[in-house]
Symmetry: C3
Subunit: 148 residues, 3 copies
């Protein structure tokens, strides 16, 4: 049985993508959402990069300039956000990492969010990783076939 | 209520991805569509890169060679197409930008398109950006719960 | 009519992504599935890179270290898997290619799979490419409108 509702959004120049998506999800998608497609451009981004070779230290970089958003992936819920982005610079080189914030829209940002109607996304501390990690809670009523 | 229809396609060697997707959407998805997944390889691509440091000039590059398509994001409707791509070259380096065209399939291109059944995607000129930007029009009948 | 079922998963430290997804799809999604979003980190990956300039040789690289998964695209069915990935390294550089395996989860891997309820995904040898390529078989019963 189909269990997906999609939400199509366009953000405009100067809006901050993470904050706007969190505000939208908090108000309109209490179950939580995931990114299905994202296409646009930004003038800034703060990213946490992959761990170094020891797996301990993650560098945080504040980017400023013009970047095409090549992809955005991950989940957003009232309990937390986990997004990874890849950006293309003015030479075409791609770079990316974990989104900390500061994704300021340059011209546009087209985003499609997906909402799984039979699960609620949340976050809970995982002592294996030291982070609040994704939790997926089945809605028994919905699972019983009364999705609408 | 579920509001997504998906369309699964495979393109074959020599086909041009943008033109084929536009033809498919024009004929089969008049409401417009967005890219949900895309996996394949190309022998060419014309990309418009991110703006330079002044935010004014965007270089256009014509790529020729073999590239894996790492991701494709964005929307396609009868009124316009907005796609960003990331490519992997034969050394594994990733590059990408705004797709202008010339995405010639090398071996295959697996594409899943999504169609939101309760909205129509279009394009309208936005004088803040100088481009035709995405418009999202709710279908009142569908919004009233008669999606089928 | 809506025809998509989504499956939301979280993989945990030490799990191998491709094997886990194939196991899940084989058991839970016999029609086959495609990647809708993927966000997490890995400590290894084996990738087949794009063909060289002659279009003949594809280098295979075994990566070891810490990488953010920036995107994952493609399809998984009982008959075969076709995934492309882009990774961000500890300097933020993006790299990627065709996934051969060895995607070992570092902290987490959030994955949303899509299942098109009216088609079955498979693989068949294509002598134009030398690979088993995606096949898409419409389910006539489902196509007749009895999806549930």
């Amino acid at each position: 049985m189909s269990n997906l509702k999609v939400h199509v959004l366009r953000l405009t120049p100067g809006q901050e993508v993470v904050g706007e998506l969190e505000k939208y999800v908090s108000a309109q998608v209490p179950r939580g959402a995931f990114i299905m497609t994202c296409c646009g451009s930004v003038t800034s981004a703060t990213l946490r990069l992959a761990a170094d070779t020891n797996g301990v230290t993650n560098k945080i970089v504040k980017l400023s300039g013009h970047f095409e958003v090549l992809s955005l992936s991950g989940t957003i819920s009232r309990e937390g956000t986990h997004l990874h982005i890849s950006l293309g610079d003015h030479q075409g080189a791609a770079l990316g990492g974990h989104v900390m914030g500061d994704l300021t829209v340059f011209t546009t940002m087209e985003v499609v969010l997906g909402e799984a109607l039979d699960v609620t996304l949340g976050r809970a501390f995982d002592n294996r990783t030291g982070y609040d990690e994704l939790t997926i809670t089945k809605d028994e009523r919905e699972a019983a076939g009364t999705i609408n």
